[in-house]
Symmetry: D2
Subunit: 142 residues, 4 copies
């Protein structure tokens, strides 16, 4: 599946539609059916000891699934998450950026399904895995 | 299953162990195997239009499952979420508090399993449902 | 939410559209947004020791979510499961029927979301919980 | 992570501990942290039209997660599934074997977490994805 949006277009679109959180995320790479993103960590994302909070990990997985869907259907502000299953497997390293690798497994007319692995940058073992379903708006609403 | 901590003890404990987020949550009621909590909404929890963000809904469900577990095992700072499955079903009402009703379904030696329904206060139809698994630390670590 | 099909109509419809498995399941009760069903256990559903297998528990939860959806949209053979999250919490009692209590949480145009609790008949503590999403076919395909 | 059991040992062990279903499954390959298995399809796994049923897909994913866990901890009959999240994405091809590719993402003392993709043999697009958590028995019970 080839992407129809570039890294630059995806970052620009996030800045327009998610003004409040666009400073938190950066798209690094789009390649085939995968997207790599990162959380631009600040104090609000941290727990005592400097590790990244659960809601911040969820938020990165959620945005990554949205972005990899957009990358293949084009800019649509209205897609909504309908389901997320997430396994927290290891504590993220303190002081290390959190990276998401999202892979689009299905792109249907009504739904997309994405797998996401979260990593502390530079480490091989994933800190979390998630799968997310997005409801895609009908064409006339795009 | 009778609770071993009161509403006051749970709110105090949250204030001690989750200093950074304790101002975001309030335990309203503990009764048998259920806990009712609320998100004390502020700007950081909102999306354009005034609705509550996905990560904030996840965060409330996560804390509610933790609190209903604590209510039955006593104060243990080290319990960690290992899995969450969440369905987003309706858009929360703008300007209305978000309420969680958490029910402890299993309390084992190593794991607890909790069901959570999220509501916009005053409305019957839930905005989201979640199930969460917590890993309970061995007694010597409590 | 009032049901539009009766227990008899639901059992008849299952017999028509799922001929191969209709002998495995029985709808006991439909009331408001909930349905109670049972697995008619035979050897193929059992594991050594006489407990019910994981796939059989999944199968009962899946059919119960389908039936509670049908009960509210009317007979549509084409609805398909898109997602299931299931927690296995206790070993089912050997030699005791398995009961599902399914509650329809959302009935949208494209999706339904259902919560299911599975019980060994006569015992209070659930053996498993599941949440399932069904994709509902467009009206012209019903 | 290197495996500690061979394909032959895994198939033999399945035959011993899951006598009732061992004829349904075959381990094809073990390599690093992944296992490839197949469902040996017979009538009981099929739906009208010849496609494989949901419980049969769940059953293959469940056994594959168990086998990839065993492959790394050695033969332990007592490991139990505690959670499964599964997305059904495409209808399996009728008359084509169902293949599972399972990848062990975490092997802890108490829990393993595995990702599974299910394929109709010979086709690139997965028919389903699942993630499963297994509770690993303490060493003295192995």
């Amino acid at each position: 599946m080839a992407a129809v949006m570039t890294v630059q277009q995806l970052n620009d679109f996030l800045g327009q539609v998610f003004e409040q959180v666009a400073d938190d995320f950066c798209v690094d790479e789009v390649e085939g059916d995968t997207v790599t993103m990162r959380l631009l960590t600040s104090d609000k994302h941290l727990r005592p000891g400097g590790t990244i909070s659960g809601p911040s990990m969820f938020g990165l997985a959620d945005v990554a699934a949205y972005v990899v869907t957009l990358a293949h259907i084009g800019p649509k502000a209205l897609a909504v998450t309908t389901n997320c299953s997430i396994d927290f497997m290891r504590k993220p390293e303190a002081g290390v950026p959190l990276i998401a690798k999202a892979r689009l497994l299905k792109l249907g007319k009504q739904l997309s399904v994405t797998d996401v692995l979260l990593f502390s940058e530079g480490l091989d073992a994933p800190v979390a895995r998630a799968s997310l379903t997005y409801a895609i708006p009908p064409k006339s609403m795009g």
